[in-house]
Amino acid sequence: MSTLIEGLFNGISIGSVLLIAALGLAIVFGLMGVINLAHGELMMLGAYATFVVQNVFKPLGEPWFSFYIIAAIPVAFIVSAIFGLILERGAIRFLYGRPLETLLATWGVSLILQQFVRSVNWLLIICLGIFCLLFFGGMQLLKSRADWESMRTKIVSLLLPLAAGVAIAFYFLLSQNSALTNAWFSARNVDVTAPAWLRGGVEVLGFQMPYARLFIIALTILCLMGVYWFLQRSAWGLRIRSVTQNRTMSSCLGIPTAKVDALTFALGSGLAGIAGCAVSLLGSVGPNTGQNYIIDTFMVVVVGGVGNLLGAVIAALGIGILNYLIGSGTLALFLTTISAPQSMIDFFLFFATSSMAKVMVFALIIIFLQIKPAGLFPQKGRTAEL
C-alpha cells in the first residue's frame, strides 16, 4: 500500500513539474502553432525573478521572508510575460506560418537570453536603455512625418547605427566604473532557498511527502484551473479560441488578431515564468535551467496532441508516473514479487536509473507516436478543448 502511494505521489509530482512547464507551451505551440525553443529560457527568467524576489525579501526579516514565494509567483509571471511580449512583437509576429524560421529565430533568442543572464549588469541595462530610447524614440518622432512610408528604410538604416554607436560609446566610457560592471548573477548557479514552511513534509502511511512537492502540485492545479477559466469563460479567451480556429474570419468579425496573438503569447510566456518559479524550489538555478526542461515540455505537448489541454494533462501525468516507475526500480521490484522471468527483471533493472529511465520513456514515446502520430487526442485544425 505504502509503495503504491509512494509511486503514485512521486509520479504525480514529476508529472506536475512537467505539466506546469508544458502548460505555457501548450498555449504557445498548441494553440498558436509557434515552435518556441526559447520557452525554457522564459522559465529560467521566471526562476531568476524568484531569486531576485527572495533577495529583496531577505532583509525584511522573518514574517515577510516566509511569504516571498507567494510574491515571487506574480513577479515571475510578469517578467516572463514581458519578455515573451517583446519576443512576439520583435521577432515572432513576422514569422507566423513559417515554422522553420521560427525555430531558428527562437533558438537564437534562447542563446541570447542565456548569455544575457550570465553577463547582465547595470552598465548593460543602461546602454540597452539608451539604445531603445534613441532608436524607438527617434522612430516615434519621425513617424508623424508625411513621407514616413517612403522614407522608412532610409530612416531605419540611419537611426540604427547611430543609436547603436552612441550606446556602445557609452559602454566604453563607463566600463571603468566597477560598480556598474559587476554582473548581477554571473555564470554560476544561484540558489533559491525554500521558506521554512515549505521545508520538511507530511507523513502519510509511513511515507514522507515533501511540502515543496505538494506546493508544486497545488500550484499546477491552480494554473490549470486559471487557464481553463480564462480560455473558456473570459471575453479574451473567446477571442483567443476564435482566432486560433479561424484567423481570417475572426479578423473579419472585428477581432484585432495582432493584439490577440500578442496576448496569447504573453500568457504562455507568463505561465513559463510561473513554472520557473516552481522549479527553482527543486534545485539550483542557472543559465542552463531552461535547457533541462525544453525537451520534456515539447514531449508532453506532442504526446498529448497539439492544441489539447486535457491531452497535455494526461500526457504529463503518464510520462511522470512511467518515469518514476521505471527509474526508481519499482517496476523491477514488482516483477520480482510476481516471479517474472529473470531476463525481464534484468531488463528493467538496467533502466532503473533516472537517466536510463528517460531513455526508455523516450523510446516508448517514439513507439507511441508511430501508432498515434497526432498524439492522444488528435484534432482537426488548431483548436483548444479541455
Binding site: R241, S250, L253, G254, G381
Partner: protein
C-alpha cells in the same frame, strides 16, 4: 455656382455607402481584378453576377481587407478604408458573410453570435445578450444555442453566419453566395430574411449570387467578366439576354 456644385458632390459622397474606384488586384503576378469601379447607394441592395472564377469573391475579399489592391481606392461612407486592416473595417460597419460561411467550428452557436458583437464600434461589453430580433429572423438558431457551430447543417450555418454579421449592427452587409449548396426552402427563408433586414434597418447590401430569383430582389446589378465590370444597371432592366451572356454556362 461653385457652392451648389460642392453641395452636390457632398451629397453624392454621403449618399454612397461604398465606392470602389479603379481597383487592381493581383495574386502574385496574375492580374485578377482589372480597373474595377463599383458603388453602392445607401439603403440599396446591389447584386454582383458572373460565372465562376471571374473575380467576384476576390472583389469582396478586397473590400473586406483580406487582399490588398495594387492600385485603387475603397471609400466607405466618406472615408477611405483602403489601408485599414479587416478588423478595423468590420468595426467601421461592414458585416461580412463569406462563401463557405466560416463558422468558428469548436465554439458554441451562442458564442459565435456573441463574437459578432466584436464589430460594434464601441467593442463588446461584458453584459452580453443576443437581441430578440435575431431569433425572429432565424428562429431555428434559438433551439441550438449550446450546440457547437461546426455541428450545424449547411443551411443552419448560413443563417448563423448572417445572424452573426447582423449582431454588430453593420451599415453594409456583404453576402458571398448565401444560397450556395442549400435546399430550396431554406433559400426562400434566407431571401425573406435579407429582404426583411433591409426593410427594417435600411442597411445597404452587396450580394454575390447565382440564384436568379434572389438576384431579382436587388435594386441594381453589376456583371463581371474576366476580372472587370462589363455591365451594370437597374435589375428591372436585367433582361434574359444579359443573363444568358453573363450567367449561363
Amino acid at each position: 455656382m461653385v457652392i451648389t456644385e460642392s453641395i452636390i458632390s457632398d451629397r453624392q459622397s454621403t449618399d454612397l455607402m461604398l465606392q470602389v474606384s479603379n481597383l487592381n488586384v493581383y495574386y502574385g503576378e496574375s492580374h485578377i481584378l482589372r480597373n474595377v469601379d463599383l458603388s453602392i447607394p445607401a439603403g440599396q441592395m446591389v447584386c454582383l453576377i458572373g460565372r465562376n472564377g471571374v473575380g467576384k469573391t476576390t472583389l469582396l475579399k478586397t473590400i473586406m481587407g483580406l487582399l490588398s489592391p495594387r492600385t485603387g481606392n475603397i471609400f466607405f461612407g466618406d472615408r477611405s478604408i483602403t489601408k485599414l486592416t479587416p478588423d478595423r473595417r468590420a468595426k467601421s460597419g461592414i458585416g461580412y458573410v463569406p462563401q463557405g460561411r466560416e463558422i468558428i467550428p469548436r465554439v458554441s452557436v451562442k458564442d459565435n453570435l456573441i463574437l459578432g458583437l466584436e464589430a460594434k464600434p464601441e467593442g463588446r461589453k461584458s453584459q452580453e445578450s443576443i437581441p430578440e430580433e435575431i431569433f425572429e429572423l432565424f428562429p431555428v438558431l434559438k433551439t441550438m444555442l449550446s450546440r457547437m457551430g461546426g455541428d450545424l447543417s449547411g443551411g443552419q450555418q448560413q443563417q448563423l453566419a448572417i445572424a452573426r454579421a447582423l449582431m454588430g449592427k453593420p451599415r453594409l452587409l456583404v453576402l458571398d453566395e448565401p444560397t450556395e449548396g442549400i435546399q430550396p426552402s431554406i433559400i426562400l427563408e434566407i431571401e425573406a430574411a435579407v429582404k426583411r433586414i433591409i426593410a427594417e434597418t435600411g442597411i445597404s447590401v452587396l450580394l454575390v449570387e447565382q440564384h436568379l430569383h434572389f438576384v431579382r430582389q436587388a435594386d441594381r446589378y453589376y456583371a463581371m467578366q474576366k476580372g472587370g465590370i462589363v455591365a451594370s444597371g437597374s435589375t428591372a432592366e436585367l433582361t434574359q439576354e444579359v443573363i444568358q451572356q453573363f450567367l449561363a454556362v
